[in-house]
């Protein structure tokens, strides 16, 4: 298990953000990178690799990886629909969007389609309350969701 050369360069760039000896600070950004490099989730092997890279004890990596909601500790689908369901999104019909995705793809929150393409996840406030209902897809937000927009997103992902 190894980072690509580009990822290793990125690790060095991140470590340089912090004073000498404070490279533990690079842990969260490097875990993001690891998740991107190794299939969208963090296995124990991945976390051990990151620990070695940053000269940390594995436990220091585990306790961080398990704390933050963006780190997936189980395999996920190629595309993850992370639908916000907190107050302001609920007021604008996020429940209907979750239900629609369930009807369309047959997956409940936390589940992945049999073909491994889609995972549905309900999440708490993503800071897009004025553009509700919304979801995060990869590194971007998809806002003002409607059933038609969900249809289009599914198509977009299938063609990717």
């Amino acid at each position: 298990m190894n980072f690509s050369e580009n990822a290793l360069k990125e690790v060095q760039r991140i470590i340089a953000f912090y004073p000498e000896g404070k490279q533990k600070s690079a842990l969260i950004p490097v875990l993001h990178l690891a998740q991107q490099e190794f299939g969208g989730w963090l296995s124990a092997d991945t976390m051990d690799y990151v620990a070695g890279l940053l000269k940390l004890d594995p436990i220091e990596v585990y306790e961080v990886a398990t704390f933050y909601s963006m780190f997936n500790l189980k395999p996920v689908g190629k595309h993850m629909f992370e639908v916000c369901q907190t107050g302001p999104c609920m007021l604008n019909g996020s429940d209907d969007i979750v239900k629609y995705i369930y009807d369309k793809l047959g997956i409940k929150p936390g589940e992945t389609t049999a073909d491994g393409l889609f995972t549905l996840k309900t999440v708490e406030c993503l800071g897009a309350c004025g553009y509700a209902p919304m979801m995060q897809l990869g590194e971007h937000y998809r806002e003002h969701l409607t059933k038609e927009k969900v249809d289009a997103l599914v198509e977009e992902c299938r063609n990717r």
Binding site: P19, G87, P88, M90, V123, E124, C129, G130, Y131
Partner: protein, 452 residues
């Protein structure tokens, strides 16, 4: 039309880019501060401006800066809190996405005042695409001599870095943020010591919200006294309000703190009124943590005075009949919404976001979520309402950080003002599954308060 100090240039095409930003007067505050003012003079201007922290607590910024310890030979840090996660709040995102240089400019001037040579922006992990926007702005500023060594030939050095979080509301609490920035779980620290004495890597640190630091730019350009002329009383300057929920025009608005809640909610310049021809039922004016107000207490205070969009007026009446400015997350509920369900989603949010350090919060938030869901599903009993009240009382004030209070207040306010809606769910368990309680009496005019 109110005065705009932060978003006045937001409409300019490509203002995100350095050249355009500079052409429109960008980085003037840095020139002024570094070339003509001492660091203490910059802090003095911020003090004079009356600027209060825009993240939610509203603590005077100049005073916070003046608490910063300055021991010889120890580095000091400025950390910008861009971990915007309070439900209803999306203003910092707007600033960073559309006018990133305003934040960078404010950071340079503020870092100079604080004597910081390395400053960080800690941004919530989900705002992934904004990291690239900020890093581009930092690179442009650096290429043009505003960052790096010996800025403007003054001998002042500064570097700015962006660090991404990974999904944790608690990291908006300043000591949890510092833990996270050190590569740890976001567990808040016990205070004292405060970050001003022992912050990032045990060094003196100031943590300020994005909007607070952006406001330093007009304060230095125009002078603190000019800034303080805008607004009412101790609510000086302008405030970004992110409006959402059941309104015609959700979005981010800059207000001078001199307008009424009614104008903000109903005028076409701002929210444009309630969407879909419905009526106002309730509003949380300052982010999910602050008390919800029924329509009759939102537009007027219990004394019958017009409620204004200021720190003081929104808080008028205390928690009995008032609320708070908070982060400026303005969430509006129309008459077809269910307060119990809405409160349940907030309780679920706080349960999800509790870091788990303190038992009252860790256990209490889970209890509140379960009981609210039970009531919402028509399976509650009258004693559940009292139990909810009891739990929130036992969380409030009994935790290391304010997340406990933030979880308790929305539940308390919902019961305080909408108790009959909770009772209706219990009295009509079948009905509450198929329809909502509606407006009740919450929009009735306030009873006249007898003179004492």
């Amino acid at each position: 039309m109110g005065r705009k100090l932060l978003l006045d240039k937001a409409h300019i095409e490509n203002i995100r880019l350095y050249d355009v930003y500079r052409q429109h007067g960008g980085y003037k505050s840095v020139e002024k501060a570094l070339k003509t003012m001492s660091p203490d003079q910059v802090t003095d201007e911020v003090k004079k401006s009356g600027l209060r922290g825009r993240g939610g607590a509203g603590f005077p910024t100049g005073m916070k800066w003046s608490f910063l310890a300055k021991p010889e030979g120890v580095p000091r840090y400025l950390v910008v809190n861009a971990d915007e996660s309070e439900p209803g709040t999306f203003k910092d995102r707007y600033l960073m996405e559309f006018i990133p240089h305003l934040l960078i400019e404010g950071m340079i001037t503020s870092s100079y005042a604080l004597g910081a040579k390395r400053s960080y922006i800690y941004i919530r992990g989900e705002y992934a695409w904004i990291v690239a926007i900020l890093e581009q702005a930092i690179q442009e500023a650096k290429n043009n001599g505003w960052l790096g060594k010996n800025i403007l030939g003054t001998g002042y050095d500064l570097e700015i870095y962006v660090q991404r979080g990974a999904g944790a509301y608690i990291c908006g609490e300043e000591t949890a943020l510092l833990e996270s920035l050190e590569g740890k779980r976001g567990n808040p620290r016990i205070k004292p010591p405060f970050p001003a004495v022992k912050g990032l890597w045990d060094c003196p640190t100031v943590v300020n919200n994005v909007e607070t630091i952006a406001a330093v730019v007009p304060i230095i350009n125009d002078g603190g006294e000019e800034y303080a002329k805008i607004g009412i009383g101790k609510s000086t300057g302008t405030k970004l309000i992110s409006a959402c929920g059941n309104i015609k025009k959700p979005g981010v608005y800059e207000i001078d703190m001199m307008i009424s809640v009614e104008e903000f909610l109903y005028s076409d310049e701002y929210c444009g009124g309630i969407a879909n021809g419905k009526k106002l039922k309730a509003c949380i004016p300052g982010g999910s943590s602050v008390p919800i107000l029924p329509a009759n207490l939102l537009l007027k205070t219990a004394k019958g005075e017009t409620r204004m969009m200021t720190y003081e007026s929104l808080a008028d009446g205390g928690f009995a009949t008032g609320s708070m400015m908070g982060s400026g997350g303005f969430i509006v509920l129309d008459d077809s919404q269910c307060v119990v369900k809405h409160t349940y989603t907030l309780a679920r949010f706080y349960r999800h976001e509790s870091c788990g350090q303190c038992s009252p919060c860790r256990e209490g938030t889970g209890w509140m979520e379960k009981i609210l869901l039970k009531i919402e599903n028509g399976k509650g009993s009258k004693s559940d309402i009292d139990l909810l009240w009891d739990i929130q009382r036992k969380i409030e004030g009994n935790t290391i950080c304010p997340l406990g209070d933030a979880a308790a207040w929305p539940v308390a306010a919902a019961i305080r003002h909408f108790r009959d809606e909770f009772e209706w769910h219990i009295d009509f368990p079948a009905e509450c599954l198929v329809k909502n309680y509606g407006l009740g009496h919450y929009a009735d005019p306030l009873p006249v308060i007898a003179a004492v």
